[in-house]
Amino acid sequence: MARRSRVAVLLAAVLLFTGPARAADPLVVSVWGGNWKDTIEKVVAKPFTAKTGIPVEFEVGGTLDRLAKARVAKAAPLVDITFTTSHVGRLYMSDGLFQKLDMAKLPNANELAREAMRSDSHVGVWAYVYTIAYRPDQVKMNITKWADLWDPQLKGKVGMPDFDPSHIITISALLEGGDERTWQKGQERLKRLKPNVAAFFSTDARSQDLMKTGEAPVQVMLSINAFHLIEQGLPVKVVNPADKPGVVGIDTMAIMAGTKKSDAAHQFIDLALSREIQEQLVATFKAGPTNLKAVVPAKLRGQPGVFGTPAEWKERGYIMDDETRATSLPAWKEWFNASIVAK
């Protein structure tokens, strides 16, 4: 009897540690931490698990930490799906880290804005813009266009990202009749902005801190962050610049090459692109949907970074070429550090 019960215990243990775990092999999603992960977990992962029975686990980290990790784990990917920015997606692709998407398995992709299809390996899930945000309680002038950043009244008040100066470099070039490919056209203009710069920031969190403390009350800022500050009660105005549009950023999803859960990963991505899920993502992030059928809440309509029609995608945002951005960023950064950041 005792022997039988020992066998039963052993069998139960084997079942406990092997059987159910196999049945519930999780889909691993790599994403940014904090609110990003929480929202994706709540809005996408939970319905996905409810629909498919496949649990979802997350690996969180910064854009480039996760890229570095993915590279060293290339032979045996630790994650199945990666959320990243569209131009960093190009870097993943350059090293063969993404697999090609099977569009037949992504029927919801048919409803996407053309701009959301960043490549055959990564697809846009939401959009935003880098635009001007400022605190009217600390800045006396009314800022309405990019050119206002150069106004002497803003001396020592402007903050901008130094980890990725693409946006302000492109805007300077656009104001001088160029674009990101002919960025040198904006160099002299950008140099003239130096007296107005209070600080550079290297993370979104630092950007928000600088706005909150008033150390940099005018910023070239991610629209999502600006909306987040407004929601927290901070008096922040987000500008729809009149001279040139905001610079669009598109966050994307991709499936890692070598994953054994490609089918589940396609299902996850397709769900994230569906109209219902997109509407929830938009409402939570205050970002623009990539699915053109998604209904945008009335108070967000027309806001910077929120595009509802193909025409709005075209007219209200400037989309940099991902390839140019990925290949030029090292040179931009070196020039920016030497000519703008250095005193």
Binding site: L91, D162, D164, F201, S202, R206, A326, L329, A331, K333
Partner: protein
């Protein structure tokens, strides 16, 4: 001999990591790609440009200033910690010295951002996002270690030398200058070396208090690797900085040993 095995293991691991760094530094960087090309000296040539040499120079200057200011600010505290007759004062100083160790570097630096910024205190000169602000943060960060090293050195001084000097008519200041200070030089040397070396590799303090305007070596390594995706360039800059660090440490160690020897 067997007791040395863990140390040898760690050294081997470090040597492998260093070899990987050096290998990366001579591989060609392909913009817009994570792949690297063939062997090249271009990365090393690129980081020897004035722009990058300036970051190394700025780091040397900030590290040297931090060392000197930390020493000056820490010595009186260490002296009181080692010599005060009041046990309560010694306990209080010890608690105050150790307290920063229990808060992370990031927390302390964020606190300094509030203090040095103009939100709460209208400073007459700009401190935040300026070298002065970074210097203040670095000195504060280094003081606890310097105080403990100095206090240990001072407490090991045989007080009969000081009593002998006093009994021969030397006034307290002269006793300090001619006896205590020279005998505490080994502590001054070790404390300075430790502070100089770790300030040289400082990252969060210049990153946060420098506001992108004040960059030290570690910040530039991160810029190149994680912002510009230029891993070979980053490795090359790190290798050059490492060579400079070894060189400077050798110079500083020699100078301090000479100063300590002369004082003794």
């Amino acid at each position: 001999m067997i007791l040395l095995l863990p140390a040898v293991g760690v050294m081997v691991l470090l040597a492998i990591a260093l070899a990987a760094l050096l290998q990366f530094s001579v591989l060609e960087f392909i913009p817009g790609s994570l792949r690297t090309g063939g062997l090249t000296t271009r990365n090393l040539e690129a980081v020897l440009k004035p722009q990058y040499l300036r970051y190394i120079w700025d780091t040397v200057v900030l590290s040297a200033l931090t060392t000197v200011l930390t020493l000056v600010a820490s010595y009186p505290v260490a002296y009181a910690l080692a010599r005060s007759r009041s046990a309560k004062l010694r306990s209080l100083l010890l608690v105050l010295t150790l307290a920063p160790f229990f808060t992370g570097a990031i927390v302390r630096t964020y606190a300094w951002m509030l203090v040095l910024g103009t939100t709460f205190i209208p400073w007459p000169v700009k401190l935040l996002f300026e070298p002065a602000g970074v210097l203040i943060g670095l000195v504060h960060f280094s003081m606890p270690t310097m105080i403990l090293i100095l206090a240990a050195a001072i407490s090991h001084i045989d007080r009969t030398y000081e009593h002998a000097a006093a009994s021969l008519g030397a006034r307290p200041w002269r006793v300090f200058r001619r006896v205590t200070l020279p005998l505490s030089m080994p502590g001054v040397a070790s404390g300075s070396l430790v502070v100089f070396a770790w300030t040289f590799s400082a990252f969060p303090t210049p990153e946060l208090l420098g506001g992108g305007r004040v960059k030290m070596i570690a910040n530039v390594v991160k810029d190149l690797a994680l912002d510009a995706f230029n891993w070979p360039g980053s490795a090359a800059f790190a290798a050059v900085a490492l060579a400079v660090t070894f060189l400077l440490l050798a110079v500083v160690t020699r100078a301090l040993a000479r100063a300590g020897g002369a004082a003794a």
